[in-house]
Symmetry: C2
Subunit: 140 residues, 2 copies
C-alpha cells in the first residue's frame, strides 16, 4: 500500500520537483475515501494555500496518472474521479437507469486482461473501470 511518503519518493526518483502544491494535492488524494474529484481536491488545497490554481491540480493529476500512482474513473457524472493506486483496485457497475453503483472485484477482469495479452500482446490498464449498463431491478 502506497503512503504519501512513497508517492513523494517516486516523484523524486523520477526527477520531479517537490513543490508545496504537489504535496498538498497528494495529501488530499491520500486522505480521501478514494473517489475524489479535481474540484474537491482543489477546494481542500485552497483552504490552506489560496493562491493555487486549478490547472496545477489537473497537471498534477496527469503526472500522478502517468506514474501509475492514481487511477481515474468516469462514473458518467460529467466529471472524473481519482483514486490512490496504493489503496487497491476495484471496478464499478453503473446502472444507467437508476444510477445505482455496484462494486466489482478486480478479479472479474483478469480473464479479459489475459486474453488481450495472449492474443494481442496488449497490456491493458484495467485498474479502475466503470462499466455501464442496467442493474437487476432495472432490467425487467
Amino acid at each position: 500500500m502506497n503512503q504519501p511518503r512513497d508517492i513523494v519518493k517516486k516523484l523524486t526518483e523520477h526527477g520531479y520537483r517537490l513543490t508545496p502544491q504537489r504535496l498538498m494535492i497528494v495529501s488530499a488524494i491520500e486522505d480521501s475515501d478514494g473517489h475524489i474529484s479535481a474540484e474537491e481536491i482543489y477546494a481542500q488545497v485552497i483552504a490552506k494555500y489560496p493562491q493555487v490554481n486549478i490547472s496545477t491540480v489537473y497537471r498534477t493529476l496527469e503526472l500522478l496518472k502517468k506514474l501509475g500512482l492514481v487511477t481515474e474513473t468516469d462514473f458518467g457524472e460529467g466529471r472524473v474521479r481519482y483514486h490512490p493506486a496504493g489503496k487497491g483496485h476495484h471496478h464499478h457497475l453503473v446502472c444507467q437507469e437508476c444510477g445505482a453503483i455496484v462494486d466489482l472485484d478486480e478479479s472479474v477482469l483478469v480473464p479479459l486482461k489475459n486474453v488481450l495479452l495472449r492474443e494481442y500482446g496488449f497490456s491493458a490498464d484495467l485498474r479502475h473501470l466503470a462499466i455501464f449498463g442496467r442493474c437487476v431491478k432495472c432490467s425487467q
Copy 2:
C-alpha cells in the same frame, strides 16, 4: 443493419418529432465511416443549413444514444466519437504510449458480459469500448 429510414421509424415510433435538423444529423452519422465527432457532424450540417446550433447536435446525439441507435466511444482524444449502432459493434485497444489503435472483435468481451449477467444480474452495455494500455511494441 439500420439505415436512416430505420432510425427515422424508431424516432416516430417513440413519439419524437422529425425535424430537419435531426434528419440531417442522422444522415451525417450514417454517411460517415463510423467514427465521427460532434464537430464533424456539425460541420456537415451547417454546410447545408447554416443556422443550426451545435447544441442541437449534442442533444440529438444524446437522444440517439438513449434509443440505442448510436454508440459513443472515447478514444482519449479529448473528444468523443459516434458510430451508428446498425453498422456493427467492435472494440478498440488504444496504446497510451504510441497512440496506435488495434480493432478488437466484439466476441472478446462476450465472456465478461456473461459473467456480469450471471453473477451480478447486470446487463452490461459493452458495444463500442476503448480499452487503454500498451501495445506489443511499447511494452518492451
